[in-house]
């Protein structure tokens, strides 16, 4: 009979069953003050891709907040100082016509299994990706490399020559220099050559010391709740004097769960760094209430480091609704960016008038296009001017105060992904106050609606330029103006052949070519005149960092790198050896 005794027995069995998921082996404990604990945001409350350390798998999101920082690039790039930092390579040189680039590897770099890192590893990685990009197309970066690279050749034991399909003075910046989410991870040929299908290869085996990387860490544990990266006894970069040996003995990365939970964990000093909290007020509370917590800008706004994702309100240029430039310019005038930033970000951001993020290296371009923005009213809040433009476009206000043309009221739904929920309703209300029947919608579908070009208006960022203006300008090239239904994360789908010609011209010039300045102005004159979108504000990664156990975090005073540990460039690997124990 099913009675209480039976029920309690079943409960006991169930609790015991829960233990079956645990491994039976024990591991050496490391003191807390020599352990760095990172709470990374992944899609689930736990890691789902346990044991997947393949840098090129499309499903490696757990690896991306942890193990990726063990991989070292040929070059790091510090956007705070516009500085290229040679690492596994010592330098590169383009052919005079930019049809090829020669890269020189550093002597003495070694893999974690003791084998030397050589030019053959670089060639193997590139060839593997190019072959995949031409064939199966199931690895990250494969398609891009296949389109760009004609051949990879070994020049000598330390030098590789990469011939390009078309001259490209930015090839190195697109693939060989690691920053933000750009850059490649290099693979040990002696292991990967026997991997079989590279998309199915996990690159993980603790007993074999996999993943083998050149970084100072080795993975000793990877479960659904923890990734342990323990310091190795030896690291080539310390030997070469490039970096100090890390004082961290173990890096533990845990799935952070919700942002609330991560904020609770760092507030109670349980973890040392967490993902972007985003809400400025929450970060303000954290740094105010716990003096051990700091941010890239310390305890001052904007409480974070600038990202390459400035926010804009995008018009769907494939929709006839926004065909009239006067309407697009009017909407630019209707947005009160100061009010938006004060309300949504507690004042902790800056308004923008161009699609460029405000990095120092881009400042000359941003300053140069400011007069154009003023001329065309981009980024300028002026409701009366906006009303004039609407009248010019043939609209008049109906009894409800909504702009109307040919009996049709101007209505719009603004779609946005959840991280833009803070500003979405304010943008909608500002447009409503100005006579556009706008509403805000953020649902699980919003990203797909934006991706497929099926939106009216959308709020989104940019992942374009960091060091020179070309990448952002290229986003608006007609080749990216896909038809509705074809997915892309360049939402504008705008095209202009005159603009294309100028951008193509810039693409042929080296980033330091003085001609670029005037070409940027020419391109942006078209962009501003056409009011392609309505820029809103800078985007900051508000990453709280706890100094209870570790100091030396990147900051405005010591901006040696971005503090963002989830960038797929693995740039946080540069930060780890520079952290110092608090005691």
């Amino acid at each position: 009979m099913f009675n209480r005794r039976t029920a309690m027995s079943c409960a006991s069995v169930a609790v015991v069953t829960a233990f079956t998921g645990m491994s039976a082996w024990s591991q050496t404990a490391v003191p807390r003050n020599r352990t760095l604990i990172v709470a990374g945001q992944v899609e689930a409350p736990v890691y789902r891709n346990v044991g997947l350390a393949n840098p090129y798998s499309i499903n490696n999101e757990d690896y991306r907040v942890s193990i990726i920082n063990m991989f070292e690039p040929l070059f790091y790039y510090n956007s705070n100082k516009d500085e290229v930092i040679p690492w596994l390579a010592t330098g590169f040189e383009y052919a005079a016509d930019f049809s090829a680039v020669t890269v020189k590897m550093r002597d003495g770099a070694t893999w974690s299994d003791g084998r030397p890192f050589t030019v053959d590893d670089v060639i193997f990685t590139l060839d593997m990706l190019i072959e995949n990009g031409k064939g199966k197309k199931d690895l990250l970066n494969g398609a891009g490399l296949a389109a760009a690279v004609k051949a990879v050749t070994k020049v000598d034991g330390q030098t590789v020559r990469i011939d390009l399909n078309q001259p490209d003075p930015r090839f190195v910046f697109k693939f060989l220099i690691n920053y933000f989410d750009v850059g490649l991870q290099w693979l040990p040929a002696h292991i990967w050559k026997d991997a079989g299908d590279p998309a199915a290869f996990r690159n993980f085996d603790i007993a074999k010391g996999w993943p083998v990387t050149t970084g100072p860490w080795t993975v000793t544990r990877f479960t659904d709740n923890q990734v342990f990266m323990d310091r190795r006894a030896e690291w080539w970069a310390a030997r070469a004097g490039l970096a100090p040996m890390p004082e961290i003995q173990r890096v533990i990365t845990i799935p952070g769960g919700t942002r609330d939970r991560m904020a609770q964990m760092i507030a109670s000093n349980q973890v040392d760094i967490i993902n972007d909290v985003q809400i400025a007020e929450v970060v303000r509370q954290l740094v105010t209430q716990n003096p051990k917590i700091t941010t890239f800008t310390g305890t001052n706004p904007p409480y974070g480091a600038r990202d390459w994702w400035p926010t804009s309100l995008y018009f769907n240029h494939k929709s006839g609704k926004w065909a009239d430039v006067n309407v697009r310019r009017a909407i630019n005038h209707y947005l009160d960016r100061k009010q938006l930033i004060n309300t949504a970000y507690a004042g902790a951001s800056e308004a923008t008038f161009s699609p460029f993020p405000g990095f120092g290296s881009l400042k000359p371009s941003i300053d140069a296009v400011k007069p154009l923005a003023d001329k065309y009213g981009i980024g300028v809040f002026d409701r009366a001017k906006g009303d004039q433009l609407m009248v010019t476009a043939g609209y008049k206000k109906n009894a409800g105060g909504i702009w109307e043309k040919d009996g049709q009221a101007l209505a719009a739904v603004i779609d946005a992904i959840p991280i833009l929920n803070a500003i979405g309703p304010i943008v909608a209300q500002q447009l409503k106050n100005s006579g556009i029947d706008a509403s805000f919608r953020s649902t699980p579908e919003s990203r797909a609606i934006m991706r497929d070009g099926k939106y009216d208006l959308t709020l989104f960022g940019h992942r374009g330029s960091i060091s020179d203006p070309y990448a952002t300008l290229e986003m608006y090239h007609s080749r990216n103006a896909f038809e509705v239904g074809r997915p892309t994360l360049f939402p504008a789908r705008w095209s202009n052949t005159d603009y294309d010609k100028i951008v193509d011209e810039i693409g042929k010039l080296a980033p330091d070519n003085p001609k670029i300045g005037e070409l940027v102005i020419a391109a942006m004159d078209i962009w501003m005149r056409e009011a392609v979108e309505a820029p809103i504000s800078e985007w900051y990664h508000r990453v709280p960092m706890n100094q209870t156990y570790w100091t030396g975090w990147p900051s405005e005073q010591n901006p040696y790198m971005q503090p963002t540990f989830w960038y797929t460039s693995g740039s946080f690997g540069y930060v780890l050896p520079r952290l110092k124990p608090a005691n």
Partner: protein, 325 residues
């Protein structure tokens, strides 16, 4: 019969997710394109490559028959959005947590709620029960996760008696030791409490109603007239007869055990099947959805079969060839 139920449920399980005009590969690539080496303009090309790899480019009927064949062999294949992880591995990782948390708390809530309901129905004049009953009814109306948030606030954040979340400590390493076992149980207290407190009332309400009905039956009057002792009347005549619908409800409830506490798992960062199912639905990861729902279907079907087999033990009237059979 069980096979027919499993086939029908499995067929619905296959077709219903396919009615949404979504492609799991495109969803995943879009998600990843925001932060990785997926070229934002190459989503379509990569989607096509992966569609072929996972057979999503084949006619639906072909996919259906492959699916039936795979399910029959308990081969759930690879997760699309977590490739190269197999669905069986994902389920195996999540299942112990679900069993440990949900099954045990469901059984505890069932036992406590049933006893309380029986006592409340039997002894309606008890002052303690008069106070307890409405309180439990109120708790039964509060969702698990909401109760969880309240418990976290008071017992974890304010009092500091329990951890805020997780299945064990951040730095601790799972091992076979009493110390670690104690830690797991310590972490399980708040999620368990939130489920038990909110569930007891549901079971108690049902049982109380049945006890009141049973008390009016002729056999109860007859037993009382025979001069049987009150505890015997309560247990053997009252509870035993009132328990039957509860047992059926428990069998059906096991189907909801996995899905019913998704938010509890999220609130407490508990790594169970519920949150795995939710993740899979969000990204239209068909194989994982199929695998989990298939397990659920099987669980409910087998639970019902088990109840059918146990019923004659609980109620001699339904025994084939029994006294009343």
């Amino acid at each position: 019969m069980v096979l027919a139920v499993v086939w029908a449920a499995g067929t619905l399980n296959f077709f219903i997710p396919r009615m949404a005009p979504k492609n799991p590969i495109a969803e995943k690539l879009t998600q990843m394109a925001g932060t990785s080496g997926v070229d934002p303009t190459k989503i379509q090309e990569m989607s096509e490559a992966f569609n072929a790899k996972f057979g999503l480019d084949r006619p639906l009927w072909q996919q259906y028959f492959s699916y039936l064949g795979d399910m029959a062999q308990f081969d759930f294949g690879y997760s699309i959005t977590k490739y190269p992880v197999r669905v069986a591995d994902l389920i195996a990782a999540a299942l112990p947590w679900t069993l440990g948390l949900m099954i045990s708390t469901t059984l505890i809530a069932f036992v406590l709620g049933t006893l309380l309901g029986a006592a409340a129905g039997w002894n309606r004049d008890s002052r303690i029960l008069q106070i307890l009953s409405p309180l439990i009814m109120v708790f039964s109306a509060i969702p698990f996760y909401l109760l969880g948030l309240v418990l976290i606030y008071f017992l974890a954040a304010k009092a500091g008696w329990f951890p805020i979340s997780g299945g064990h400590g951040i730095v601790s390493i799972p091992e076979w030791s009493w110390e670690f076992g104690r830690e797991v149980l310590h972490h399980a207290v708040l999620p368990s409490l939130s489920i038990i407190i909110a569930s007891i009332g549901t079971w108690a309400i049902g049982m109380r109603g049945m006890m009141v009905s049973v008390q009016g039956e002729d056999y109860m009057t007859f037993a009382e007239a025979k001069g049987l002792k009150p505890w015997r009347l309560f247990l053997r005549y009252g509870m035993r007869n009132a328990l039957l619908p509860q047992a059926t409800a428990l069998a059906l409830y096991f189907g909801q055990v996995v899905t019913g506490a998704v938010l509890v798992e999220i609130v407490f960062s508990y790594p169970g099947l519920g949150s795995l199912l939710l993740d899979s639905i969000k990204l239209f990861d068909f194989p994982t959805i199929y695998g989990i729902v298939f397990i659920l279907t099987l669980t409910v079907a087998l639970s019902m079969l088990a109840i059918d087999l146990i019923y004659p033990l609980l109620d001699p009237r339904v025994r084939v060839g029994g006294r009343n059979g």
